[in-house]
């Protein structure tokens, strides 16, 4: 029951919001609900909550199961942190029909939590889509000029991917002994190598699109750019993690042979993606696009590390899942503050943030360091472990991927340079002090960045069981 | 060649030629008349097969009622030869080729079917074409479809009224 409340709170709050029109109440409900979720998430971290297990579709032998393990806890925590952060940081933003906007975001949250918590393949698919559809509406209604086409592309891509996954699920379902969707049952379905290969491809397509991995990434920069920033935050902080979550939760245990067999290919693609995204990020003028491409690069690295099948790589990825979310969230919030106040995303028009708003500039620099994965920041530990694994897997790959660190440094610092330093741009003149709440949120996030950077052990502890499961064979 | 065979081939040739004339005739009225001849030929076949009831019903229903309606409608519309819409030549060619290949395919299929090899059709004899056994079977074994077909007629009637009313 306890786990179910995690899903119910956002859903109930979302439905409530549909009937509320007063700005203050809207904010109160939204933030209250998300904070409630956060508190429960923190409780779960320490208490092992009992599984929620109910009959759902008796004919299909599908059960509604919510189950926590380290991976789930970690990502639930990330989600639970992200949403209040987003809501608080953006609560002053002017949005038409804010109640619906927030309501849809809360639905997304429920979907995401469901994805991370469920232990039933069919329910997993359900939540996967549930997380997507509100985003489609959010982006299409409140997005930028080209929102309709771009969001549609995004939607089609991800939906198509998920449909492939659905076939995979159906296929697996058919090969379980008693036709069940439960993960345990799926794990017991021993597929032959060829079967594994094909089903692996179906699943991986869905995850690869979500992450996204080169060459399936084309939807991402456009979508990030055109979406309203709150949504972009959700997308890049949490949603992309769905892909990696899927790889860890489904691909590795279910298709070990295929997983190993495809490692070279996937890692190559990932590395190409890393380099490619980094180079493009360097050339970007648009702040949001820059962050987007940087995100592609980071996710690519995580994916590559996962496919090395090395324990340290996996450990790194597990940490980085959380860290990257926090970092990127911070960057987005700052980018949003700037955009909200200056009305531009072009870095050319910026500059001199440090002079106008030193606090904000400091925060920006902090998150930028985390993005480059400087030591002491949270990302350092993860990236270090991941490179280690890559190095063990293939030196050349590691070397190539290593280039990305340098590139990341180039574009991130370039961004900091353009935004924070130099002459105060015309538009920058309009810059006011961001709201108290936003500043607090950023500070807390930055605090998390450094705390986990210095003391990553707590993340290791949470994910230890997952890691053990992955490599117990 | 026995009389029956001569009759069979004569009627078949007659039917086929008339059927082709239905297609070829430009004037719709001529088509109708040729079609009536086809029906007569088919009725002749029925007689040959000793399906008397069907032979006569065929004439009453098809030649007597249906074709009169056709003729009636064509005359009512006064469709003239020169007003007759024509399809393009290639469409016609494609149609002929399609029909021809359909025929060839099925004929080839039938030729290779071993199941019916040497099976003979009983001509002239047999009581099943007579009205008495037919009536018995129709009202015993086939009474349900018979009754249900009344729904068909009702709907056709309602429909004709709906469509026919101004």
């Amino acid at each position: 029951m306890f786990l179910l409340t995690l899903l119910l709170i956002p859903v109930i709050a979302a439905i409530l919001l549909l009937f509320v029109h007063k700005q203050a109440t809207i904010n109160a409900i939204t933030i209250g609900a998300s904070l409630l979720v956060l508190s429960i998430a923190i409780v779960i971290l320490n208490v092992n909550a009992a599984d929620f297990d109910e009959q759902w579709l008796p004919l299909l032998n599908s059960r509604f199961v919510l189950h926590t393990d380290g991976l789930a806890k970690l990502l639930v925590l990330l989600t639970a942190i992200s949403f209040p952060a987003i809501f608080i940081a953006t609560q002053k933003n002017e949005t038409s029909q804010k109640n619906i906007f927030n309501s849809l975001l809360l639905f997304t949250q429920a979907g995401l939590l469901g994805v991370f918590l469920t232990a039933d393949a069919l329910a997993f698919y359900f939540f996967w889509e549930l997380a997507l559809i509100p985003v489609y509406f959010l982006c299409s209604i409140w997005g930028g000029e080209k929102r309709i086409a771009v969001t549609f592309k995004f939607f089609i891509y991800t939906f198509l991917g998920s449909l492939f996954m659905l076939i995979g699920i159906v296929y697996l379902y058919m090969h379980t002994a008693d036709h069940s969707f439960a993960i345990k049952a799926l794990l017991e379905s021993r597929l032959t190598a060829t079967q594994q290969n094909s089903v692996f491809a179906l699943f991986f397509l869905a995850f690869a699109i979500k992450m996204p991995i080169f060459p399936l990434h084309t939807w991402q920069p456009d979508a990030y750019e055109q979406s309203p920033t709150s949504v972009t935050m959700v997308l890049s902080a949490v949603m992309v993690k769905m892909g990696l979550y899927g790889v860890i939760r489904w691909l590795i245990p279910l298709f070990p042979i295929a997983f190993a067999g495809h490692a070279n290919l996937v890692i190559t693609l990932s590395v190409i993606g890393i380099i490619y995204a980094s180079f493009i990020a360097i050339r970007q003028d648009d702040l949001k696009r820059l962050i987007a491409y940087s995100s592609i690069a980071h996710i690519g690295l995580m994916n590559a590390a996962l496919f090395t099948q090395k324990q340290i790589g996996a450990q790194g990825v597990l940490i980085q899942l959380f860290s990257h979310g926090i970092n990127v969230l911070g960057l987005w919030i700052i980018a949003d503050i700037i955009e909200q106040q200056t009305g531009t995303r072009s870095m050319k028009a910026m500059g001199g943030l440090a002079k106008k708003q030193p606090t904000l500039a400091i925060l920006l620099v902090g998150f930028a360091f985390a993005n480059i994965a400087l030591p002491l920041t949270n990302a350092f530990v993860g990236e270090f472990l991941m490179f280690n694994a890559l190095f063990q897997f293939n030196v050349w790959m590691a070397a190539l991927a290593g280039v990305s660190v340098i590139l990341a440094a180039i574009y991130t610092l370039n961004m900091v340079q353009k935004v924070a330093y130099g002459e105060v741009g015309d538009l920058m003149q309009k810059m006011n002090t961001p709201s108290k709440q936003a500043q607090w949120v950023l500070m807390i996030l930055l605090a998390i960045v450094f705390i986990t950077g210095v003391y990553p052990q707590f993340l290791f502890t949470i994910t230890a069981d997952t890691l053990q499961q992955m490599f117990v064979k | 060649m026995s009389t029956l065979e001569i009759l069979f081939f004569a009627l078949s040739a007659f039917a086929l030629v008339s059927a082709i004339m239905v297609l070829v005739s430009k004037n719709p009225i001529h088509s109708v008349l040729w079609l009536i001849l086809v029906f007569f030929a088919i009725s002749g076949h029925y007689v040959l097969l000793n399906a008397q009831f069907l032979a006569i019903v065929n004439i009453i229903v098809y030649a007597g009622a249906i074709m009169v309606l056709f003729l009636f409608v064509i005359m009512l519309m006064n469709v003239k030869e020169d007003k007759e819409p024509q399809k393009k030549l290639w469409v016609k060619l494609v149609g002929v080729v399609a029909g021809g290949s359909f025929l060839l395919l099925l004929v080839a299929l039938v030729k290779q079917t071993t199941q019916i090899e040497g099976k003979q059709v009983l001509l002239k004899d047999g009581v099943i074409g007579l009205i008495h056994p037919l009536g018995q079977v129709l009202f015993n074994d086939f009474v349900v479809p018979f009754e249900i077909s009344s729904v068909l007629f009702l709907s056709a009637m309602v429909g004709a009224v709906i469509i026919g009313k101004k």
């Binding site: - | 086929l16 239905v22 088509s31 088919i42 229903v61 149609g95 039938v110 019916i116 059709v121």
Partner: protein, 111 residues
């Protein structure tokens, strides 16, 4: 008479009807060709019926084998009559409005 002869004859008639449906544009003629097809089917059914009757008679005198096909033919005729009434009503309705029985009348207008 071998059953094949009947099958070939009926297939011939059926195909002629089909060609008519495909090549003619006058709705009435197309409809007539459909009737021709139905008739070909009827004849074939009767031929089959008599084939099975012959087989039935070999095993049992006075057998009524094959009679169901003739009843089927009867139903086909009857249904065809109902269909014709509706069909001609539709054709007349169309004629009233467009003064044509061309099945592609509207397409012709579009071109």
């Amino acid at each position: 008479m071998p059953i094949q002869y009947y099958i070939f004859l009926c297939l011939g008639l059926f195909s002629i009807g089909m060609v008519g449906v495909l090549t003619r544009r006058n709705a009435i003629i197309v409809f007539m060709c459909i009737e021709l097809m139905l008739n070909a089917v009827n004849l074939l059914l009767v031929a089959f019926s008599k084939m099975y009757h012959a087989i039935g008679l070999q095993t049992q005198a006075g057998s009524l084998a094959g009679i169901d096909a003739q009843i089927f033919v009867f139903f086909i005729m009857v249904v065809a009559a109902a269909e014709v009434s509706v069909g001609l009503a539709i054709i007349v309705m169309m004629y009233r409005n467009v003064h044509s029985v061309d099945i592609n009348f509207l397409n012709r207008l579009k071109n």
